[in-house]
């Protein structure tokens, strides 16, 4: 199976006009439902009913036997391995139901998910090994070690990504066999829905700062849709001689939000289905490269401007999964660096900034696709089949509704409920956040599995890659940095109490 068809699987077998073929419910809606379900179950904690405390968490370790435990001590009897098995079974049931709704083969999905979950989580555990993850001198002393790569515990995401890359590039037949459960878009959207609630709890403590971040997210929309898009389209059309059919999805893929934007644009301008699919494959490959490089550049040069770094990840890294994941790694690296210098920032603000930027950009994909569709069908390829306003809603990323709902609910619970209830909110949503981490891990591994470099090159998209390379590294990344600096420089996350 080619990388192109892998990308088609990720996208979910769509026509060029972005309408799903068989399933009655889209991955987008399913991600919203699953995310809200986890969030709602976590909120049972407010009524002193702990429904999710059995989910597994991993600590930095030197003794493997102490690496795993349950999220809540009330389920401590389960033990670390028991928690891991319980988490696997629960996710298998929920995602298996989602696979059924998507009309996938349940048995194939179950087998594939089993492989995906255990490899991905094993990579995460390896990434939490103290010699990889410990950061501060106190931690080195605590674990009795004298060196560490200082990747932090969230460096485990990189291990999951590398494991996926190994599977894709060394064991392509195995990658083919597990493709039914390689769904980075589904996993990251579930994670983003949960992240809304997590960010709300973080934001509740500093509402002024949070609202300022939201307002500054508007700059990201302007930058991605109006400035990036026009420049990349011009480069693709004039420097590289691409046709309009190729240049428009490519410009959207590089400028806006990777896969979703490329697919929406391809549908809007009535491109052949293969065009956005090829562009999407390219987006994934470059996103992997960015995730492996940019967080470390941010840590080196932006550790004293944490929110600039967070916004930069949202603007520079394409695809929701890779961007939010890069935000997570960046937060971890920068918080660790500052902690080593004696400054302890609250967690959640850098990742929250990245996610906010990304969500703001995503909201307008449908509108932009409609604008392009209108221009193409009326002025470029006037075939009589014109773009319709309802396509804006059809292309609206529904998981964003979930993000908004959990954010609003989290804020309400943290700010507008009696003190005894509000005090329980962080712990309750913290258990949902443990699932968010697991969905991140699955996302990283899945992105890696989709990145078969050799096959992609064999498809002959070197010239597309050249446009992407020139635009991304010559323009998008640096303008993103400039805009992030203009709007976020000097804004610091609150200090941890």
């Amino acid at each position: 199976m080619s990388n192109v068809s892998h990308a088609a699987d990720w996208i979910g077998e769509r026509r060029a006009d972005n309408v799903a073929l068989a399933p009655r419910i889209s991955e987008d809606w399913l991600s919203l439902i699953i995310g809200l379900l986890i969030f709602a179950l976590a909120l049972a904690g407010l009524a002193n009913t702990n429904l999710l405390g059995w989910v597994v968490t991993t600590s930095v370790w030197t003794n493997l036997g102490q690496a795993l435990k349950t999220a809540s001590n009330s389920y401590g009897a389960l033990g670390g391995v028991g928690a891991l098995v319980a988490t696997y079974v629960a996710l298998l049931v929920v995602l298996g139901a989602a696979a059924l709704a998507l009309k996938s083969d349940l048995k194939k999905f179950a087998l594939a998910f089993t492989a995906v979950f255990w490899i991905a989580y094993a990579s995460w555990i390896v990434g939490n090994f103290a010699n990889f993850a410990a950061v501060t001198p106190a931690e080195l002393q605590k674990f009795g070690i004298n060196w560490s790569l200082k990747l932090t515990n969230e460096g485990g995401y990189i291990f999951a990504l590398l494991a996926g890359l190994v599977v894709a590039n060394v064991f392509p037949r195995f990658a083919e066999n597990i493709k039914d459960a390689v769904k980075p878009e589904l996993y990251i959207k579930v994670a983003i829905v949960i992240l809304g609630g997590v960010f709300a709890v973080t934001a509740a403590g500093k509402l002024n700062l949070a609202s300022s971040l939201l307002i500054r997210g508007v700059a990201a929309i302007v930058e991605a849709y109006l400035i990036y898009w026009s420049v990349v389209y011009l480069i693709a059309r004039t420097w590289f001689g691409f046709s309009r059919e190729w240049a428009a999805p490519l410009a959207s893929g590089i400028s806006i939000c990777g896969v979703s934007a490329a697919i929406a644009t391809g549908g809007a301008i009535r491109a052949r289905p293969m065009v956005p699919v090829l562009v999407s494959s390219l987006v994934v490959i470059f996103a992997v490269v960015e995730v492996l490089i940019l967080p470390f550049i941010a840590q080196t040069f932006l550790s004293h401007e944490p929110l600039v770094a967070g916004a930069w990840m949202g603007l520079a890294v394409k695809t929701d999964g890779a961007a939010v994941a890069a935000g997570g790694i960046t937060e971890s690296l920068i918080l660790a660096q500052n902690a080593a210098e004696g400054v302890k920032y609250q967690a959640g603000w850098i990742l929250g900034t990245t996610a906010t930027i990304k969500v703001f950009i995503d909201i307008f994909i449908g509108v932009w696709a409609f604008v392009l569709g209108y221009i193409w069908t009326n002025h470029i390829n006037a075939t009589g089949e014109t773009a319709k306003a309802h396509e804006i809603w059809e292309r609206f990323p529904k998981f964003i509704i979930g993000f908004i709902v959990t954010f609003a609910a989290g804020l309400y619970l943290a700010l507008a409920t009696p003190a005894d209830i509000a005090a329980k909110v962080p712990a309750a949503i913290g258990e949902a956040n443990t699932f968010r981490v697991i969905f991140f891990i699955l996302t990283f591994f899945s992105i890696g599995v989709l990145s078969n470099f050799k096959r992609l090159w064999a498809e002959g998209i070197g010239k597309l890659a050249a446009v992407y390379f020139v635009s991304l590294f010559g323009f998008v990344i640096w303008v993103g940095l400039l805009i992030s600096w203009l709007f976020f420089a000097g804004i610091k996350p609150p200090l941890a109490s």
């Binding site: 700059a219 002959g460 805009i483």
Partner: protein, 50 residues
Amino acid sequence: MTHSEFHEELRQGVKEPLLPVEKKLIGWSFGVGVVLLLILTLINHVFPVA
């Protein structure tokens, strides 16, 4: 269309000169984008984060 035909199409490129409507799209997008960013930068300067 087969993969090899796509490969060839991508390699060779297609001669499609920029239409006036494309030039307008590029120009207006970029121009409006720069103006909006300047306005937002000004707002950001006048109303800094508390």
